[in-house]
């Protein structure tokens, strides 16, 4: 009953979307506002309809309707309520519905804005949103239907189908298989929704970009309208990535936060191009340059969002995130090819109207440094893309190796994969270069900047930065990577702090306010700028955590008898005891007690655990962690002798500075909020008015 209701609402959404697309195209082409309004109403209807669909699935999940295939796959009787609800995005069919629901919500919210000045965009924004939505709906209806039921045919076969096959009987099970234990974590409530919100929100700026290309209104209006949407999309995506890292650190038990897993990378790729986009639109707004580039970036970001969803959901790659193999791969590929092709076609069609209004003349000007920053983000993206795609293509590219023998070492025709060392080695120098830019770019000027002016601006913070390498010498740290990384981090920090200080001081003198009030007002007045600087500080703090793990992490493992100790750096653990007990929700838990000593002094006890999920026969390792701002001491119970409980094997990690990764993440989010928060600011900025006036003058009007 409920399943039929949800399915009916899904079909109806599909038809409404189809109508909305047709109506919007007709209204847009023939300039018929009535049809556009009708399409907008269709758009607004999709969200309540999909809400019915999503609530139906949640109802079935919560009440354990195991006759539904999806429910049986992702829930079981022993799962708590919150996990049953979040199981909506615990499997492929449900997560596609969740995607569509979020997409419909975002697109509806956009159509509710005031359109007075941008009415010509409206039909095309609706078309792009609804086409995207319809693609996902068609996957749900035709390929991955979450409402399919199990049936038993007279021959004894069990089949899954939406409608009862002839002569079959329904098959109702008493219990389901349950969610993958790795996903049974409070992180499940927030990490996937944030990532998905980030994904779908990036559809909005793309929709406006396409609307601008179709209507020919190719000034920077589309960028101004979508600036905040893009920032929110970026905020959600960043938050999703950071939360994913935290979740991995807490449960995956390798002592790290990021494994260069193809699925992690595919979520980071739209973030990389989106970050490049956020920076380069500023050049278009301020200087009227890089218009083609911005269009390409947003198209790329949109298709990477679709590609990311595809990689996570198709089973093409094996990883912790991937669900089972399915037939949706070719459909995703087709859709990506189609949208990319059409977008590029439109861009070429409007190529001439997107000419730059100014020329880049100076290598050290702000816009040139922004351009380099963009190239670096794109380079990291290319490194990642190559790492994900090359293993899939490695056999086919053997032909290149045969044709050009000097490239045969790479294109050998063997099936090859690349692991974390590849990404670290290729991206390391790029990250360092980005940090260097982050240090000098805020002090360079728009338009004209020379090494002399830049030098004058930067010498004070650069001098203070020298403290960092001196400190490293005093501390006896020898790693070259640490020297470079920490010195660059110091440079960014001091430059940014100097920028805050200089501006606050100027305001303090001019307005006779105290320094804190000046800083507050300053940030309020130019939120994009100071929000951006706050984000930079966040990035620097995060980089401390990353360097802590990448450069300074140490680990060891051993089997200990009760009372024995294992030493790692200044820490030691002593194995005390181990208990094994079953839990009410179907786990067999082994929990060890270890005492932690630092420099010989007892500091705390930790309880690393291993939970064995009986129904899915999967173990899960939960670390015992002592966490401080200086370092984390991370203990894993990996093995034990079940009978005597005399010996147990532990793996221990010492992770210096890792908490700064999470603290930096919070600062980063705060900075994005400062930049993205709505305000009453006038949209036309003075320099923009001046530039338009000048342009008008030039054409002789």
């Amino acid at each position: 009953m409920v399943a039929n209701l949800g399915y009916g609402a899904l079909i109806l959404t599909f038809l409404v979307s189809l109508y909305g697309i047709c109506s919007a195209i007709y209204g847009g082409l023939k300039n018929q506002p009535r049809f556009v309004d009708s399409a907008r109403n269709a758009m607004l209807l999709t969200w309540p309809l999909l809400t019915v669909t999503a609530l139906s699935i949640i109802f079935l999940l919560v009440y354990g309707h195991y006759e539904i295939k999806y429910v049986a796959e992702v829930t079981s009787n022993s799962m708590p309520l919150y996990l049953r609800v979040t199981a909506l995005w615990g499997g492929q069919a449900g997560s596609l519905i969740f995607w569509s629901w979020l997409m419909a919500g975002f697109a509806s919210a956009v159509t509710l804005r005031k359109w007075d000045r941008d009415r010509e965009f409206l039909p095309w924004v609706i078309v792009v949103s609804l086409v995207t939505l319809m693609f996902f709906l068609s996957l749900s209806i035709f390929v991955e239907n979450p409402f399919e039921r199990w049936w038993q045919t007279p021959t004894g076969d069990v089949v899954s189908a939406m409608f009862q096959p002839a002569n079959s009987t329904p098959l109702v099970q008493a219990d389901g298989r349950g969610l993958n234990p790795l996903l049974r974590h409070p992180g499940m409530i927030i990490h996937p929704p944030m990532l998905y919100l980030g994904f779908v929100a990036f559809v909005i700026p793309y929709a406006f970009a396409i609307a601008a290309l179709i209507t020919g209104r190719t000034d920077d209006r589309w960028i101004r309208v979508t600036r905040r949407w893009t920032l929110w999309a970026w905020l959600f995506l960043s938050l999703g990535l950071v939360l994913g890292g935290r979740w991995a650190y807490d449960v995956l038990g390798w002592g790290g936060y990021w494994g260069w897993d193809p699925v992690e990378i595919s979520a980071a790729m739209p973030w990389l191009t989106g970050t490049a986009f956020l920076h380069s639109v500023m050049i278009q707004e301020k200087r009227g340059m890089l218009k083609h580039w911005n269009m390409m970036l947003i198209v790329l970001t949109y298709d990477l969002v679709i590609f990311g969803t595809f990689l996570t959901r198709s089973g093409v790659l094996s990883s912790v995130h991937a669900f089972a193999q399915s037939a949706i791969g070719p459909l995703f590929f087709g859709f990506i090819a189609l949208t990319f092709g059409v977008s590029m076609g439109l861009l070429i069609h409007r190529w001439n109207s997107l000419k730059s209004e100014a020329q880049m003349t100076n290598l050290l000007s702000r816009e040139a440094l922004f351009l380099v920053n963009n190239l670096l983000f794109l380079s990291v993206f290319v490194v990642c893309f190559w790492g994900v795609v090359f293993p899939i293509l490695s056999e086919a590219t053997g032909l290149i190796g045969q044709a050009i023998p000097s490239l045969a070492v790479i294109f050998s025709g063997q099936k090859v994969t690349v692991g974390p060392p590849y990404y670290e080695r290729a991206n390391g120098p790029l990250f360092a270069a980005m940090m260097f830019l982050m240090g000098i770019a805020p002090l360079s000027a728009w338009g004209h900047s020379t090494s002399k002016t830049l030098g004058r601006a930067i010498w004070k913070p650069a001098l203070v930065t020298l403290v960092v390498p001196v400190l490293l010498i005093v501390l006896g740290i020898r790693q070259v990577a640490a020297w470079i990384g920490l010195t660059l981090a110091g440079l960014v920090f001091f430059v940014t702090a100097y920028e805050f200080w200089r501006s606050a001081l100027a305001r303090h003198r001019a307005h006779n306010e105290n320094l804190f009030a000046a800083l507050w007002k300053l940030a309020g007045r130019n939120r994009r700028r100071y929000g951006g600087y706050t984000i930079h500080i966040g990035v620097i703090l995060m980089s401390l955590g990353i360097m802590g793990i990448e450069i300074f992490q140490t680990e060891t493992q051993a089997t200990l008898a009760a009372g024995e100790r294992l030493q790692l750096d200044q820490y030691a653990i002593q194995y005390e005891s181990l208990v094994e007990f079953p839990t009410a929700d179907g786990r067999e838990v082994a929990r060890a007690t270890v005492s932690v000593y630092k420099d010989g002094q007892f500091v705390t006890q930790l309880y690393p655990r291993r939970d064995f999920y009986l129904e899915s026969q999967q173990p899960m390792t939960i670390p015992g962690v002592r966490s401080t701002l200086a370092d984390d001491f991370y203990v894993l119970l990996v093995d034990w002798q079940p009978i005597s409980t005399q010996g147990a094997t532990f793996k221990v990690y010492h992770n210096p500075l890792v908490n700064w990764l999470w603290i930096g993440g919070l600062v980063f989010i705060l900075g994005t909020l400062i930049a993205a928060w709505p305000d009453r600011e006038m949209e036309m900025q003075p320099q923009r008015v001046a530039r338009v006036a000048k342009a008008v003058e030039q054409v002789g009007l």
């Binding site: 090859v416 994969t417 089997t559």
Partner: protein
């Protein structure tokens, strides 16, 4: 003024291409079957290899004190379609361990013995082939076919 931008752009491009190609070359892991690995022995010694095989339960030796694990794996096809054609992973693994004529490989792994390491499990190992013909695994992943197969529900709970 333009040329310096073009030169700058080309420099960045060259640096990125160099980084990608050299990193790929240094860190590439070759996917091989045990047959291929043994056949190419000389070529592959010391290179990063990812190889998979069916575990022979009787050969598993584990020393909990030194955390040294030794076992032997038997050649299985690497291609998913081939595995499907031969009746699925479970059947392929079962057949492999029962066939004494198949190519075998001895594996040495430093670390904790995984729970899933048992007879007829599929071991996926990353490591290097040593001069002594033993495979030194840095990373060991295990798959047990029964747990990962798309399960069709048991028919005992049926109503009506």
């Amino acid at each position: 003024m333009r040329p310096k931008f073009i030169i700058g752009g080309l420099l960045i491009l060259a640096a990125v291409v160099y980084l990608i190609f050299s990193s790929t070359q240094v860190n590439a892991e070759f996917f091989l079957t045990i047959d291929e690995l043994v056949a190419k022995n000389a070529n592959m010694t010391g290179k990063n290899v990812r190889v998979s095989g069916a575990v022979l339960g009787d050969t598993i030796q584990y020393d909990a004190q030194t955390l040294t694990l030794k076992f032997t794996v038997v050649n299985v096809p690497a291609d998913n379609k081939e595995i499907e054609a031969q009746g699925g992973l479970a059947a392929v693994l079962h057949e492999a361990v029962s066939d004494p004529d198949r190519q075998r490989l001895e594996v040495v792994y430093k670390g904790v013995k995984p729970d899933l390491l048992k007879n007829e499990a599929q071991a996926i190992m990353t490591g290097q082939l040593g001069q002594d013909g033993l495979f030194y695994a840095d990373e060991l992943l295990l798959k047990c076919p029964t747990k990962y197969e798309e399960a069709v529900p048991e028919q005992s709970d049926q109503t009506q």
